[in-house]
């Protein structure tokens, strides 16, 4: 069960780039790819660099799969599943995103 939290306006996003939002106590990296009409949300914490920087990584695709590259050591993570392309043991958490009335809502699941 998700609760949807309003984090920012669509205009606050950076097309083809990322921003970081504080969703509850969680740092979430939001990426907006206008070409795909998609907003992706993954954890902002880089598990290898151990720093909150994923929102500042470059985005694009590898073989068609949307991804973000860590700005520290360049590992690629899928924006849809969060898995790390280089190391199957690693992944970023992913979050559902909804756009309503030009607002971005991020879903956090209750345990």
């Amino acid at each position: 069960m998700n609760s949807w939290i309003d984090v920012c306006a669509v205009d606050d996003l950076q097309p083809d780039s990322g921003v970081c939002a504080l969703v509850g106590e969680v740092q979430v990296a939001l990426f907006y790819i206008p070409k795909l009409q998609q907003v992706y949300a993954v954890g902002n914490f880089d598990p290898i660099g151990a720093a909150n920087v994923m929102s500042r990584g470059l985005i694009g695709d590898l073989n068609g799969e949307p991804m973000v590259a860590s700005p520290l050591y360049k590992q690629h993570y899928s924006l849809t599943t969060g898995r790390c392309f280089e190391d199957a043991a690693l992944s970023l958490p992913t979050y559902p995103v909804r756009v309503e009335d030009n607002r971005i809502l991020v879903g956090l699941s209750h345990e």
Binding site: P15, V19, K35, N52, I59, D61, N63
Partner: protein, 847 residues
């Protein structure tokens, strides 16, 4: 194991040293104590590139002996001492200084001396020869008081010497006894074309002249009187009329010498005393003296093999040569004079482009026997392989020298070469060895050079090496994929051209027209860099911002904990006390760690993303600009204080450094670019380890290019000497834009140079001679970059929309709680993982 024997090597020239290097790398090294005599005051140096001594290379640059070579291998060297006789009965070598040394084996590598024709007056002052560094020093001293210089001898060495005189600023003449230049290597047509070209360069060539005597001149020091009654006044005479083997020690020791000199050797390079070998220019094999370095090296390898009990015979050597004489390509292969009975000859002469080519072919029209190329030696490698590997010629051999008239491709693919074909004759590297290295993982030219040494001697085989590499990789199914990434089927250079030719201004436009997918962290910054190099837009414009690496996006350098460092520009490293105070105050206020960089500026570490605009506001208010430490762009121009303060300074290096840094700041390139300017040859600014290095000399600025410190240091190449400032800037403009256009992504200038076909000579041809006709365009483009410079921080601070990015959270003013500092040596540093658990958050400063 039997006790060690004593091996005495007489002569430490190029060949003697090559022998020692080969010996210590062989199994024979364990069987010998090695002693070597060197008559000169310094150990072996590169005589082939001797003329570079006049264009700025030092004796140290020319040395062929690695540091500590003799100590490391336990070799005893007697410098400035000449071995004069061998007492073969007692097995002793006796030196000029009276040393007596026992030997078991001797290798004679005494080389040769310049032949001075016994013309009356040849012993006058300022009548010199061209062989050793001491000779060069004497020439330099004499040239300083001379206006006119004359070289006697129009052979290969004579023309080298003429170039040296010309470089020293003298009006230069060449006097040759034969009716043409380079009579040994060239036929009449080739010699005539060479004379024509060299005359056009301002050297007066007199052929068919026999000097009768040299007497006092009227305007000059000397007057040369020729047998035909003509005269030539000159201040300096350089004899370069051929070489003679240094065989005096052999004569004194009763070893067999040839009628016209030279120590007679057999196929194992042994003299008539089997314990004594002779190699290099002092040796006479089969009635022949070999006056080139490659055959000498080959003899050295033969002796090493012989001492290691391996069978390897010296069976003569190919005397083909290719060289550039004063910028003119000249090559001679095999039987250039068509002395082979009933040989067929093909000749091609292009009067407009001043090219002469001649092929000598066997009378069945199947095999190449020899060739002469003047003005364009591009076909040399192919022709040499046809000749040496006895490859059957195409049906119409003339197609090899005629300019291609249609799409047909002539020339010999590297695939047609047998494995035994020699690619590099300096280091005797065969195609088989090159292929083995490629199979072993060398997939770049520079890796091949390191692994096999091919291409590191004279460099003449560079293009062939590259084509073998490409061909092998392709065959191995290693698709030679030079695509930048999966999104563009193009190289960086292709993308640059597309952007330029189609006036493409954004990544999306390029992707729509020439790519697929969304792009990635490889192609996006690469295209961002090309767009910036070409158009020089503000990089954080909406359409460009997504292309930038995080450092460019935040105009600062991300550190391991996600904070940033800030480096304001300090042109030339010159900074006022007030400037330093502001840096200190800002660092203190924001609790930043400060460190002096190698590029003579101050790096401020530990700024959180939301602090960056606040800090820059304060820096810009007092006149600082962004330092582009975050960009693949011009970084710094380091300098010494130069003539303003220094007792030794020759020119104002700081002033020039500041001017250059302000000129090129903001220029984006495939990788970062560092400059340095030194005010004298003491080189305190370390300019020769920079992409662009400049050193002041009495005659102007010397320009060095493509050096690097870092992971793989590379000494910069001397590019041009004695330049005035305008020419210097013109050359730098052209080099930098040519680099921006043609380098691969993230390729420093050093690697760019290593992989450039034609290397330094090619770059000189493009930049100095404007061979591609691009000069004006390159300068114009640099003009555009300079005119459109902006301080990116100043622009950013004026743009509310852009400033929105400089917060950690889009929806909160909180700071990132994960950033924790601890104090070390009085300054903050990022807390390590285990420390974070114990320390509380340092309160955010200035917010």
């Amino acid at each position: 194991m039997s006790p060690k024997q004593t091996l005495v090597v007489i002569g430490n020239g190029m060949v003697g040293q090559h022998f020692l290097a080969g010996l210590v790398a062989s199994t024979a090294k364990d069987h010998y104590d090695i002693i070597t005599f060197c008559e000169e005051p310094r150990v072996a140096y590169d005589r082939v590139h001797l003329s570079e001594y006049f264009t700025g290379k030092t004796a140290e640059d020319l040395t062929l002996v690695p540091d500590n070579f003799f100590e490391e291998h336990g070799i005893t060297i007697h410098l400035s001492d000449r071995a004069v006789t061998i007492d073969r009965a007692q097995k002793q070598v006796i030196s000029a200084q009276g040393l007596v040394v026992h030997y078991d084996k001797i290798v004679l590598a005494t080389g040769s001396y310049p032949f001075v024709p016994p013309v009356p007056g040849h012993e006058r002052t300022q009548c010199l020869v061209y062989r050793t560094i001491e000779d060069l020093e004497a020439i330099q001293t004499a040239a300083a008081k001379s206006k006119i210089g004359t070289v006697v001898g129009g052979g290969l060495l004579g023309l080298e010497a003429a170039k040296a005189l010309k470089d020293l600023g003298l009006e230069t003449h060449v006097v040759e006894f034969a009716p043409r230049l380079m009579a040994v290597q060239l036929d009449e047509g080739g010699g005539a074309m060479l004379k024509h070209k060299i005359s056009a360069l301002g050297v007066t060539v007199h052929t068919g002249k026999n000097t009768a005597q040299i007497i006092d001149g009227e305007q000059c020091v000397h007057k040369m009187c020729f047998t035909d009654g003509e005269e030539l006044e000159t201040d300096l005479i350089l004899f370069s009329a051929g070489i003679r083997p240094r065989d005096d020690i052999a004569r004194a020791s009763d070893l067999e010498v040839g009628q016209r000199g030279g120590i007679v050797i057999n196929n194992a390079c042994q003299t008539n005393d089997p314990d004594i070998y002779a190699i290099g220019e002092c040796a006479l094999w089969n009635g022949q003296i070999f006056g080139l370095v490659a055959p000498g090296y080959s003899m050295a390898r033969t002796v090493v093999a012989h001492l290691s009990d391996q069978q390897q015979a010296f069976t003569g050597a190919d005397m083909s040569t290719k060289l550039k004489l004063m910028g003119v390509d000249v090559a001679s292969i095999g039987d250039a004079h068509a002395k082979t009975p009933s040989a067929l000859v093909y000749t091609y002469q292009d009067g407009r482009s001043e090219i002469y080519k001649r092929l000598v072919v066997s009378n069945d029209n199947k095999y190449l026997l020899g060739a002469v190329l003047v003005g364009d030696a591009n076909g040399y490698s192919t022709l040499l392989q046809y000749c040496l590997s006895r490859i059957e010629l195409p049906e119409n051999p003339d197609s090899l020298i005629l300019p291609p008239r249609s799409d047909q491709s002539v020339g010999l693919g590297p695939d047609a070469l047998p494995d035994s074909a020699q690619i590099c004759s300096c280091y005797a590297v065969s195609k088989g060895e090159v292929c083995a290295a490629i199979a072993g993982g060398c997939n770049t030219v520079s890796a091949l050079k390191t692994e096999t040494k091919a291409g590191t001697g004279c460099g003449g085989c560079g293009a062939l090496l590259k084509s073998v590499l490409d061909c092998e990789l392709k065959k191995a199914g290693v698709e030679v994929n030079t695509d930048i990434c999966e999104h563009f089927p193009h190289t960086r250079q292709d993308l640059y051209t597309l952007i330029r030719v189609e006036s493409i201004k954004t990544f999306d436009e390029l992707l729509d027209k020439h790519g697929r997918g969304l792009g990635c962290e490889i192609c996006k910054p690469a295209v961002g860099s090309i767009l910036a190099s070409y158009w020089n837009d503000y990089i954080l414009k909406q359409e460009h911002v997504g292309l930038q690496d995080t450092n460019d996006t935040f105009l600062a350098n991300m550190q391991k904990d996600g904070t940033y460092s800030i480096v304001p520009r300090v042109p030339g490293g010159e900074i006022t006390p007030d400037g330093l105070i502001v840096l200190g105050q800002v660092a203190k206020k924001y609790q930043l760690y400060t460190k002096i960089t190698g590029g003579q500026r101050v790096d401020l570490f530990g700024a959180r993303v939301e602090q960056l605009p606040l800090i820059w506001q304060e820096l810009i208010a007092v006149g600082f600009e962004t330092g582009h430490a975050y960009g693949k762009s011009l970084r710094t121009v380091k300098s010494c204080v130069g003539s303003t303060w220094c007792r030794y300074g020759v020119d104002d290096s700081t002033g020039l450094a500041i001017e250059l840094e302000n000129r090129y700041k903001g220029l984006r390139a495939p990788h970062k670019i560092k400059f340095a300017v030194s005010g004298c040859t003491r080189e305190c600014a370390e300019a020769q380890s920079k992409d662009i290095g400049i050193i002041a000399t009495e005659g102007g600025w010397n320009l060095y290019v493509c050096g690097n410190g870092g992971m793989k240091p590379r000494h910069a190449d001397l590019f041009a000497t004695n330049l005035d400032k305008d020419t210097l800037i013109k050359y730098i403009d052209r080099v930098l834009i040519f680099y921006a256009r043609t380098a691969e992504r993230l390729q420093r200038t050093s690697v760019w140079m290593e992989n450039m076909e034609g290397g330094l000579d090619y770059l000189k041809a493009v930049v100095i001679d404007d061979k591609l006709g691009l000069g004006a365009e390159l300068e114009q483009q640099m003009g555009h970059i300079i005119a459109s410079y902006q301080c990116e921080w100043q622009t950013t601070l004026q743009d509310e929309q852009r400033l929105k990015r400089f917060r950690h959270f889009i929806n909160s003013d909180q700071a990132d709680q994960n950033i924790v500092f601890v104090e070390e040596r009085g300054q903050p540093r990022p807390a390590k993982l285990n420390e974070r658990r114990h320390f509380t958050l340092v309160e955010e400063a200035g917010a």
